[in-house]
């Protein structure tokens, strides 16, 4: 027969309860499962592919799920030269990604236009969309991309994500608590 007892201490759940800030837990979840949008536009995309392949294995950082639909992506990796002809398409794909979203500008071209100082090339994707991490190199090695990804993870872990995402809810919480 089942019996209910009042206890002050339950040894069965000890060690399974974690106290943390909600933001920290949310950020931890987010940063370890970044689904990239592979915006491969030039030779950087080859390095991006190498990063995803077995030798460098971006899956070690939880970002192996390259999604070819922007609706399912968290981070856009702009890998390559952004021409003016492609620029608004990149912006459109970025806008189709659901919040929260981040952008990595991979390589010299995506960051600044690189060696293409000419009429046809957008001088850095940050002229159109906000960039979180810039990676130098032409093209950057896979290690550099992984380092950039880790920088982005650090950045995400410092975000006040709950407050940024739902300011009204936070306000109501604080009102109720005060």
């Amino acid at each position: 027969m089942a019996e209910t007892r009042l206890t002050t201490h339950d040894s069965k759940i000890e060690g399974n309860v974690i106290f943390t800030r909600f933001d920290a837990a949310l950020n931890w979840v987010r940063k370890n499962s970044l689904w990239p949008m592979p915006m491969g536009l030039a030779c950087c995309a080859i390095e991006l592919m190498a990063t995803a392949a077995s030798r460098f294995d971006i899956a070690r950082f939880g970002a192996e799920v390259m999604r070819f639909s922007p609706r399912q992506c968290d981070v856009m990796i702009v890998a390559g030269t952004v021409t003016y002809k492609m620029a608004l398409a990149v912006k459109r794909i970025y806008e189709q990604m659901p919040e929260p979203k981040w952008v990595i500008a991979m390589g010299a071209c995506a960051s600044t236009g690189g060696m293409y100082r000419s009429y046809a090339t957008l001088q850095g994707i940050d002229q159109l969309i906000p960039v979180d991490v810039y990676i130098s190199g032409c093209p950057p090695r896979p290690e550099a991309l992984l380092a950039g990804l880790m920088k982005l993870q650090e950045k995400i872990s410092r975000e006040r994500s709950f407050r940024n995402q739902m300011p009204e809810l936070v306000e109501r919480f604080e009102e109720a608590l005060s």
């Binding site: 003016y84 002809k85 620029a87 060696m115 100082r117 000419s118 009429y119 046809a120």
Partner: protein, 191 residues
């Protein structure tokens, strides 16, 4: 038919229409009048077996008259020989006859020449821009078009801005000096 015979046949058939002939490393270049292009092109393909149009290039001799030149690079699979046809296009005319019905590959080559240089083609079936977008107002390979580009705007299609050159363009000096002296840098124009 050998290569020499083909050249001799062309000379014989169009002797009066060939303005000049140069030979460099066994490749022959003929300068012809723009009006004779189609006739000579047809003859080169049908009689001389130049069945492959490798490329069409356009040249802007800015400041000279006539301003533009078109170069047709032909190759004969049968002869293993190259032939180049070169013709001048004055700026006010700005058009040449299409050869896209003679060599279908010319279709896109001519679209590219139109896109980059603004040279038109009479009788082309589909003369649209091929690299830049429809509505881009400039022809970027013209010598009077600045390297940094010019601002333009087509809402929802594309825009361009002038590029900061920071003292450029960045020029490499070919020499046997060390890489520090040769590397691409902004150089004063007198160098």
């Amino acid at each position: 038919m050998t290569r020499e015979e083909a050249v001799a046949l062309l000379n014989k058939s169009f002797g009066g229409k060939i303005q000049s002939k140069t030979k460099f490393r066994s490749e022959t270049t003929y300068t012809i009048a723009a009006n004779d292009l189609r006739e000579i092109a047809k003859f080169s393909r049908d009689e001389l077996s130049f069945d492959y149009l490798i490329d069409i290039t356009s040249i802007d001799n800015f400041g000279e008259e006539p301003r533009y030149a078109m170069v047709y690079h032909l190759y004969s699979m049968q002869l293993g020989a190259h032939l180049r046809l070169k013709l001048k296009v004055p700026e006010e005319a700005g058009v040449v006859d299409t050869v896209s019905d003679i060599w279908p590959t010319a279709n896109w080559h001519e679209r590219e020449a139109y896109d980059m240089m603004g040279v038109g083609f009479n009788g082309h079936p589909d003369l649209r821009r091929i690299l830049m977008w429809d509505g881009y107002p400039y022809f970027p390979l013209r010598k009077d078009f600045p390297l940094e580009g010019l601002p333009s705007e087509m809402p929802d299609v594309a825009f361009t801005k002038a590029t900061p050159l920071e003292g450029g363009p960045f020029v490499t000096i070919p020499s046997t000096a060390g890489s520090r002296d040769r590397e691409p840098r902004a150089r004063p124009p007198e160098l």
